[in-house]
């Protein structure tokens, strides 16, 4: 079929930030196909220079509303690395609870509110109200509330956390609060399984598309890595020196995007839940493994649309992991400890964590007075933009004979599968080009 048409989706909906899809087809031939990032750049680098070490967390949290806890933790790890601060066991555990809470919040938002409407054939969750799917929607809302209240409890607030400070926490949840949270987490495993059943019932609407690519994420001998670990790739294995992250993540710019692109062993790679699953699935907790099996998800899975399923698997893992963490905290007894005091000195620090959308790096250089002189951030979504573009280039020829509206929806679904966070990716910290 030699068709001619143009698709121009300005500001793709149900994603964080502004991105466009442009496709021009003339007589069955693709003339132009672009994943464009039109978000206004925000120049965080210029903001951080000259600020005090204890302000960097507050400022970089504002790179992203959805993953503000992730940015806060990467920022604190970088600052503490620069100042040589050793945090306590309790702080480690509470931060792991915080990262679980954010992963849960972000994943259920994406699975339930952003991705699921496509599977149900609606434009948003609102039309589901009053249909046979109302019950499923209310369960998703319930899990979203649980995740946010967990963030509120541990961090003081879910969007732009308050209690996460250099050296520890500015306020600490009580044992009674943690016990209540534990009970709720235990209870909602059932709800999560029910939501998984609903997603499974419509999972047939996920396009069957695979493209071999590289997956990059943190890995650890001890656990399914989120808060700590070393960088690993499905192509090249483990990379031991965390400060040398630039040897793995090569960033560059392209004209159709105010966000940077990235590559490593191939012309693109993917980060996020599917990458973590592909690298570390053996370390998932038991019920999370069950859910993965339910969907037939096995490493290495090369279907980007399965990222949404991997997020659901991680959601269950985060609940199971949090219950274990709370038990340990309660066994040890929760102390109302104050943050470890910082001794101000010059130095460079690097903090790497897994944010919901993938590997996140903060890298600061402080002077003798603890003032930030140089900063660099590597954002998960930036690392996915090139992979989205390459997926589109391989996906479009496979669906080019479908009706225009269906092609458009399929491309939007592809973008949504990555759960891009574009505000993040146009933060622009230190983009110096050699």
């Amino acid at each position: 079929m030699s068709n001619t048409f143009a698709i121009n989706v300005e500001h793709v909906t149900r994603i964080e930030g502004h991105g466009n899809i442009v496709l021009d087809v003339k007589k069955g031939k693709i003339e132009k196909l672009q994943w464009q990032i039109s978000e206004a750049p925000r120049f965080f680098e210029a903001m951080l220079q000259g600020r005090n070490y204890d302000e960097l967390r507050s400022i970089t949290s504002r790179i992203c509303g959805i993953c503000s806890i992730g940015h806060s933790l990467a920022s604190l790890k970088a600052t503490e690395d620069a100042l040589g601060i050793k945090i306590t066991e309790q702080t480690q555990k509470l931060r792991r609870l915080a990262i679980n809470a954010e992963n849960m919040q972000s994943h259920i938002l994406h699975v339930g509110y952003l991705a699921a409407p496509d599977l149900f054939g609606v434009g948003s969750v609102f039309p589901l109200v009053g249909t046979k799917n109302t019950d499923a929607l209310l369960k998703i809302v319930k899990l979203h509330r649980l995740s946010n209240e967990m963030s509120d409890l541990v961090c003081g607030r879910t969007v732009h956390p308050i209690r996460l400070v250099v050296g520890g926490f500015s306020a600490i949840p009580t044992e009674r609060q943690l016990r209540n949270l534990r009970d709720r987490l235990e209870e909602e495993i059932k709800t999560t399984k029910e939501v998984a059943d609903v997603v499974k019932s419509v999972a047939g609407n996920l396009p069957d598309f695979t493209r071999e690519t590289e997956y990059i994420g943190l890995t650890s001998d001890k656990e399914y890595a989120l808060y700590d670990g070393i960088i690993a790739s499905t192509d090249t294995g483990k990379h031991l020196d965390y400060r040398d992250y630039k040897s793995i993540i090569e960033e560059y710019i392209v004209p159709q995007s105010t966000a940077k692109y990235a590559k490593h062993a191939r012309e693109s790679y993917m980060v996020g839940a599917l990458a973590r699953f592909n690298l570390n699935s053996k370390q998932l907790h038991p019920i999370a493994k069950e859910v993965a099996n339910m969907f037939g998800l096995k490493p290495i899975n090369y279907n980007p649309f399965m990222n949404t399923v991997a997020q659901l698997v991680e959601f269950v893992h985060n609940i199971e992991d949090s219950i274990i963490l709370i038990d340990q905290l309660l066994d040890d007894g929760v102390d109302d400890e104050k943050p470890v005091k910082a001794e101000v000195k010059a130095g460079r620090g690097v903090g790497i964590i897994e944010a919901p959308r993938g590997i996140l790096v903060h890298d600061y250089t402080l002077n003798d007075d603890g003032i930030c002189e140089k900063a660099n951030c590597i954002i998960p979504t930036n690392q996915n933009h090139a992979n989205i573009q390459k997926d589109m280039e391989e996906f479009v020829p496979q669906i080019i004979d479908k009706p225009e509206k269906e092609i458009e929806l399929n491309l939007e679904m592809l973008v949504r599968a990555y759960d891009p966070c574009i505000s993040c990716s146009t933060h622009y910290l230190d983009v110096k080009f050699a």
């Binding site: 500001h11 909906t13 149900r14 994603i15 964080e16 930030g17 502004h18 990032i37 039109s38 206004a40 750049p41 925000r42 120049f43 680098e45 210029a46 903001m47 600020r51 302000e55 507050s58 400022i59 504002r62 790179i63 992203c64 509303g65 959805i66 503000s68 938002l109 509110y113 952003l114 409407p117 434009g123 948003s124 969750v125 609102f126 109200v129 809302v141 979203h144 509330r145 946010n148 003081g156 607030r157 879910t158 969007v159 732009h160 308050i162 209690r163 400070v165 926490f169 500015s170 306020a171 710019i253 004209p255 105010t258 505000s423 993040c424 622009y428 230190d430 983009v431 110096k432 080009f433």
Partner: protein, 262 residues
């Protein structure tokens, strides 16, 4: 007829829209009293027919200015949502340097950014530096409760009330130990309340995200600085995180002013 409400986002982290999504079940109550016709972050449906436009984010480029003017021309009421929109928020921190300097710093001399409207930025502007704003919902992020109060008031045809007193009032009500007593530097005394002093209540200093009061209690503030041996200079420096344009070039407390609602 329900009021038709549309959300739009400019340069921001979209955390304020997320706060609305975070209303959980209550978002279903919200759509009982108003009709949400556009909300790109969570809806594909969109309409250009609306009564209230809610704007998140700062204005950075001519293309954004054009889009904002177009929205204003369609809306009867326009609300600035969150610090990026109300004061320019942290996006204004870069305004202490020239656009050329910042661009050079960030993009280097790469040719890709030349004559490319995506990259064509000017100094960060708050929403009311481009179009008239009817109501302000302050904060970084906004408070979910305050958002509900404002929308409910508008749905009832009333004027929403935003506090004109400092964060200290709410902090005292929460029976917190004053953070100055604990050796910290808090911006509570000069910052607009309405957040229920959420940061001091969680043991962290107020960073001024809800904007500097137009008429702070200058004598009290100076008293505090003197009592704890702190400088006005440091207070001003800290305020630049969210309130880059609140302090005038003249170095006097009486010149402090960022408020737009009194």
């Amino acid at each position: 007829m329900k009021l038709r409400v549309a959300f739009f986002d400019f340069a921001s982290c979209e955390g304020c829209q997320l706060q609305i999504a975070n209303l959980e079940e209550e978002i279903l109550d919200l759509i009982e009293i108003v009709e949400v016709v556009s909300f790109r972050e969570i809806m594909k449906e969109h309409s250009d027919e609306y009564d209230i436009a809610i704007i998140e984010g700062s204005i950075m480029r001519p293309m954004d200015e054009k889009r904002l003017r177009d929205i204003r021309s369609r809306a009867k009421t326009l609300i600035a949502l969150g610090a990026c929109a109300t004061t320019g928020g942290i996006n204004k921190m870069r305004n202490q340097r020239s656009v050329e300097d910042v661009k050079e710093e960030v993009y280097g001399s790469d040719k890709i950014t030349k004559d490319n409207e995506f990259f064509n930025v000017f100094q960060t502007k708050a929403v009311d530096e481009v179009v008239p704003v009817d109501y302000y919902i302050h904060g970084c992020p906004i408070s979910r409760d305050e958002f509900k109060r404002v929308i409910t008031a508008l749905a009832l045809g009333k004027k929403p009330v935003i506090p004109t007193y400092p964060v200290c009032v709410e902090c005292k009500k929460n029976e917190n130990v004053c953070l100055f007593e604990l050796g910290k530097f808090c911006l509570g005394p000069i910052t607009r309340a309405g957040c229920n002093a959420i940061c001091p209540t969680n043991g962290s200093v107020c960073e001024g995200c809800r904007g500097i009061l137009k008429k702070p209690q200058v004598e009290c503030v100076m008293d505090i600085l003197e009592r704890y041996n702190l400088t006005y200079e440091e207070m001003k420096r800290r305020s630049t995180m969210f309130n880059m344009s609140a302090f005038s070039a003249k170095d006097e407390m009486t010149m402090v002013g960022g408020s737009k609602d009194e």
